[in-house]
Symmetry: C2
């Protein structure tokens, strides 16, 4: 029985360390789901945003996901080459690219939603449903407040 060495208590006292390590586990689960389909986290983020909001420009995608716009180019290239999204010049403003899901992309998103949900099982099982809701609610408040700060200073 090789029990893990305990983590340093001084790190466990830091909320950001806890969040980081928890998300590390969540990521490991999710990445295995995505890897089966040749995707990485950035791909899922783009697909989810397009699913939720419909067609967006690359800049809007970057804003929505807190990505740097330059880092989106390659992700969108990948998805475009695989026929999952379509990139077309916006005739109203020819600087903009309109990015939208193709039918194949929409189909994949729907699959991913359920697969992603399933993959998170076993990762939060130790909490009751009520506790999971509390956790999500607290994390959302932290994220929202920090997003608001970030939006203000820009």
């Amino acid at each position: 029985m090789t029990t893990r060495s305990p983590r340093p208590p001084s790190l466990l006292a830091q909320p950001s360390y806890l969040a980081s390590q928890v998300s590390k586990y969540g990521r490991r689960h999710l990445e295995s789901v995505l890897a089966e389909r040749g995707l990485v986290l950035g791909h899922e983020a783009v697909l989810s945003a397009l699913d939720d909001f419909g067609a967006l420009s690359q800049q809007q995608l970057a804003d929505s996901l807190d990505f740097d716009k330059s880092n989106l180019v390659a992700r969108i290239d990948d998805l475009e080459h695989r026929g999952l999204v379509a990139r077309t010049k916006d005739p109203a403003d020819r600087r903009r690219n309109k990015v939208e899901l193709t039918p194949a992309g929409q189909k994949l998103v729907d699959e991913l939603q359920t697969a992603a949900l399933e993959s998170q099982r076993g990762f939060l099982d130790m909490l009751s449903q009520a506790e999971q809701r509390t956790l999500v609610s607290l994390l959302r408040r932290v994220l929202d407040a920090n997003d608001a700060d970030r939006g203000r200073e820009q």
Copy 2:
């Protein structure tokens, strides 16, 4: 007033996405504190572990921090070159390196503890003290359970 674009609701519903983005903000705060001292997160993790536990082997450090042992080598090299930790062969088992804080390293850890605490302020201020405790408690339970799983399967 350039308000941030909203995040995709389907991602906000995923606890691991929330944890990841929250830790991203926490990391940004902490990194600025560490960067002033020429350190990165991995350095702080090593220093904290040695502060909490005293001398450890590199393998024990890796286990405790959930790092791959190969990724620790360079971090410890850095700290050693700066005289913050000492690496000595364990005479009882010459495969092992005993890694321990030097007085300078101990002094830096003490500084970092307070600076890190300070840096987290403004990041969690929107939660009451009780809510912060709840958040930490829930995250710890998730982390502990996943650590236990991981320890078992290895």
